[in-house]
Amino acid sequence: MSALTEPRHYTSELNYLNNGWTLKSWLLTKDHKRIAMLYLISITVFFALGGLFAAAVRLELLTPPGDLMDAETYNKMFTMHGVIMIFFFLIPSVPATLGNFLVPMMVGAKDLAFPRVNLLSWYLYVLGGIFAIYAAVQGGVDTGWTFYTPYSSTYSNTAVIVTAMGAFVAGFSSILTGLNFIVTVHKMRAPGLTWGRLPLFVWAHYATSLIQLLGTPVVAITLVLMMLERGLRIGFFDPALGGDPVLFQHLFWFYSHPAVYIMILPGMGVISEIVTCFSRKHVFGYPFIAGSSLAIAILGFFVWGHHMFVAGQSTYASMVFSLITFFVAAPSAVKVFNWTATMYKGSVSYATPMLYAMGFIGLFTIGGVTGVMLATTALDLHLHDTYFVVAHFHYVMVGGMVMAFMGGLHFWWPKMTGRMYHEIWARISAGLVFIGFNLTFFPQFILGYMGMPRRYHAYPEEFVVLNVMSTAGSSVLGVGYLLPAIYFIYSLYRGEQAPPNPFRAKGLEWETPSPPPTENFLTTPVVTEDAYAYAEKEVKALV
């Protein structure tokens, strides 16, 4: 049964990639693996686009005066950057690509439960993306990615409705993906694959899907109300008409705080897979990692008020939200400790995916701990809306999720494409990403602590050194992201053929050819052991 002892060669067989080359066979595909590829291409486009806007922001901040662009343009740049990166890159990043590809394979199914719905979700995503691009062409938006009223609904003169419509539509694509995952995990597991044997990647996606189902509809309706208010000049949130702008913030963060966990849980799932594989050990505390995903999903719904400590929320409410926010950091910490314990005394090897995973663990920890700092009401009074917050969420989102995404992409690239990428180049770029990232964002903690506010295009002289460091770092980071684009594409043409299981990893997806056949498995798999029976295997091999 193991690919470890008897290497097989499937290269000449029909697989999901060479099974039809026409454009139609891609655009009307119902194969979850092809849809994952469609998503991968489209989110890469948006990542590049969002990156361009980020470059504009960092260039403006290279010098203290607002010389490159005026304040209005700058506002549009960071707004478009945030909207695109959050709604069109980070939320779909891991779930819609790696998740789409792997969840059915990891549970030993032929496809997701609703392949047509899956394709629909990609089209919704594209439609939402077209709205966003159209808004950019129309002159952009300047409300910030949070669309706060009454600025968004009354005062802004930019393409607010079109952009919000884009986020609204993309939200439904996210809901449909989540729905598909939950049904698939419940109903389509292979014989022998009990809940306790599910890979942690699947657990993480299950928890993510719950948030997508319960949270996204709320932001959807909130955006609808905001658009109605703006379009018809009526008052849901407009204080001049008796409405309450803070109610918008409550509704918005009720989704958007849980949404930050949509943007990290799938990454945590990736890390669990990589860390075990490259430590060659059974994961430490499986039930705790699985359970903490659910705990995060549930607790995450009760902390939204920590975004509103200075928005006129009662002190009492702030205290409660602060307390629950401390609690929500605990399950994240549980995961970090368990990954570390998994590596402890493992035979750790430093292949590219593992480099990214280790980067994730360190950077996510910094991001999480600074989150707890922000959750203390007294500190947040000083740090709210400063660069400290910007640094915090980039440590979790970029240092965490994007690292995990890159790690996962390297880990499963051979499986997805049947080709090996260039390991040396991959390690170099992982190093560049790590250095570039820290150089970009660590100074921002200090800037925020010193009092530099976010969302301004100019700043006082004394902040210049740290800002130059940050801009310099962002160019290194940019190179770090560009290199993989090059060597990944190169690998498609010249890369070595990938064996079914190049990393000797556990999991059903590795027991089928690379790239997998359209039906995923040549025969329906039967699961007879735990997800991470690395150690057992090695021991048996010795005996």
Partner: protein
């Protein structure tokens, strides 16, 4: 519900309608149902956002809301409530007909459900035009002459139109689904071995009805 289960279990040998990703009809049946229930859960959250806003403003402006809800047309609202309850009944009878393999009755029940849905939408349109005449449409045609508190009253009307409008859009979708069901039912697609589409469409229909059952007292009665 439970006999429905037994019904499919007996007929798992009928694999004609099983999509390729499923192992058998039972798995497909359960997946379809779970999928619809999850979808309805998202719908609960979707409407929940508006119910939340309603609760907040209701607490803040109880008087204005009372004045505003007095201008709604209770007889028409009550009639629509009745229409929807009956439509839920015909829908349920439709599912039962499908389970029992009574194809003709199934087609009739779907047609009736669709008819009641259209009646509901017609009455709703009449109510909207009545509001338009009274200039009770915020943003488009608004002029509050019935005394104090127009600013706050306006919020209730915003919510009224947002909530009933969103509900009516769900009704339109529901009528669309019924049309599709009717066509496929007339083609003889459904049988005791395969009636999942009828059942999950029914779930959707009942859900939309239930939303109205909440909207009616909140917007008309209290």
């Amino acid at each position: 519900m439970s006999d429905a289960h037994v019904g499919t279990l007996e007929h798992t040998h009928d694999e004609e309608h099983v999509a390729h990703q499923f192992d058998n009809a039972q798995q497909q049946y359960e997946s379809g149902n779970l999928g619809m229930w999850l979808f309805l859960l998202t719908e609960v959250m979707f409407f929940g956002g508006m119910f939340g806003a309603y609760a907040v403003y209701r607490t803040w402006y109880p008087d204005a809301f009372e004045i505003a809800s007095r201008t709604t047309n209770i007889p028409l609202g009550a009639m629509n409530t009745l229409v929807l309850i009956v439509s839920s009944l015909t829908m349920a009878l439709g599912v039962q007909s499908a389970q029992l393999g009574k194809r003709k009755r199934l087609a009739w029940m779907i047609a009736l459900t669709m008819f009641f849905g259209l009646v509901f939408l017609g009455v709703k349109a009449a109510e909207y035009s009545e509001k338009w005449h009274h200039q009770h449409v915020p943003g488009l045609n608004w002029n509050w002459t019935e005394g104090e508190g127009g600013r706050e009253v306006q919020i209730l009307f915003c919510l009224y139109f947002a909530m009933t409008g969103m509900h009516a859009m769900h009704m339109v979708v529901g009528v669309g689904i019924m049309t599709w069901l009717l066509i496929t039912a007339l083609k003889g697609r459904y049988s005791p071995a395969y009636y999942n589409p009828v059942e999950i469409s029914g779930l959707y229909w009942h859900f939309v009805d239930i939303v109205w059952i909440f909207l009616f007292p909140l917007l008309y009665l209290i």
